[in-house]
């Protein structure tokens, strides 16, 4: 079960990290604010999941989030990519939300009440993510560049056979401040 939880946590962390890249430069201000909340929710979901796993493994959420080597992350190739184009970001958002919904349903049915409970909480927040994704999909579905983006990214959903070099680049940036001081330093 830790495996599945880490998989979801890593997906949410890395996707949240990518989505947060839009804070300050999204296509317009209202959307900037809305999309930033989505990014924060994703990182928040990752944190809650890491906390569950951390207790089992005797570590902390931050150590799980930051102090593993890139190869140890269980995120899919879909979330690792840096996508500075809005149509590709939305395409990923739409595809991810669909796949994640199915995964969360399975987790909600877990025998472990803590896991099932957390999955239910996450799912309730994800309602707004799905509405947001649908809203954009409705608007962009006839745009050729968006259709291309969906086609480009669809094959990567759930692909966990190794990582792209983009994850390493992201990881290096993500951990640069943390690694500047000895492990265990408080920030």
């Amino acid at each position: 079960m830790s495996e599945l939880l880490l998989e979801i946590a890593d997906d949410e962390l890395i996707l949240g990290w990518r989505d947060s890249e839009w804070t300050g430069i999204a296509p317009f201000l209202e959307e900037d604010v809305a999309f930033s909340s989505i990014a924060q929710n994703e990182v928040g979901h990752a944190r809650a999941l890491y906390e569950l796993v951390a207790r089992e493994l005797g570590t902390t959420a931050d150590e799980l989030a930051f102090d593993r080597e890139p190869a140890e992350y269980r995120c899919s190739k879909l979330v690792e990519l840096r996508l500075p184009e809005w149509e590709r970001t939305i395409a990923r958002h739409v595809l991810y939300e669909q796949a994640d919904a199915e995964r969360l349903e399975r987790l909600k049915a877990s025998d472990d009440p803590e896991i099932a409970g957390l999955a239910a909480k996450i799912d309730r927040e994800e309602i707004y993510h799905r509405l947001h994704a649908e809203m954009w999909h409705e608007r962009l579905k006839d745009e050729p560049r968006y259709v291309e983006a969906l086609d480009e990214l669809r094959p990567l959903v759930g692909k966990r056979n190794g990582h792209s070099s983009e994850l390493t680049t992201l990881w290096e940036e993500m951990t640069s401040v943390r690694r500047s001081q000895p492990a265990g330093t408080t920030w």
């Binding site: 209202e30 959307e31 604010v33 809305a34 509405l131 809203m135 409705e138």
Partner: protein
């Protein structure tokens, strides 16, 4: 389109104008109003309405000073003073 947002801070309180968001349609307006005026749980409810649907009324006419239905139309001090004096005189 511009959508005006009214927020209610706590149940029972009046809705107050909070600001406005620019949005392509109602779905976007809902999403953006939620975010700008509710992401910290600072509102229990929002009313969101397209600006064109709001009727503005800013001029009021009272040429003949209709004070009969206002508190300032009833200066009772003098009358009360006289009535008290008269009652006191009757008692003597």
């Amino acid at each position: 389109m511009i959508y005006e947002v009214f927020r209610q801070e706590r149940k029972g309180q009046a809705f107050q104008h909070a600001g406005s968001v620019e949005a392509a349609d109602e779905r976007f307006a809902e999403s953006y109003a939620r975010e700008q005026y509710g992401r910290r749980g600072e509102s229990v409810a929002l009313w969101v309405v397209e600006r064109g649907s709001i009727m503005r009324i800013e001029e009021f006419v009272d040429e003949l000073n209709r004070n009969y239905h206002r508190v300032d139309g009833y200066p009772l001090k003098e009358k009360l003073k006289e009535a008290r004096e008269r009652a006191a005189a009757r008692d003597r």
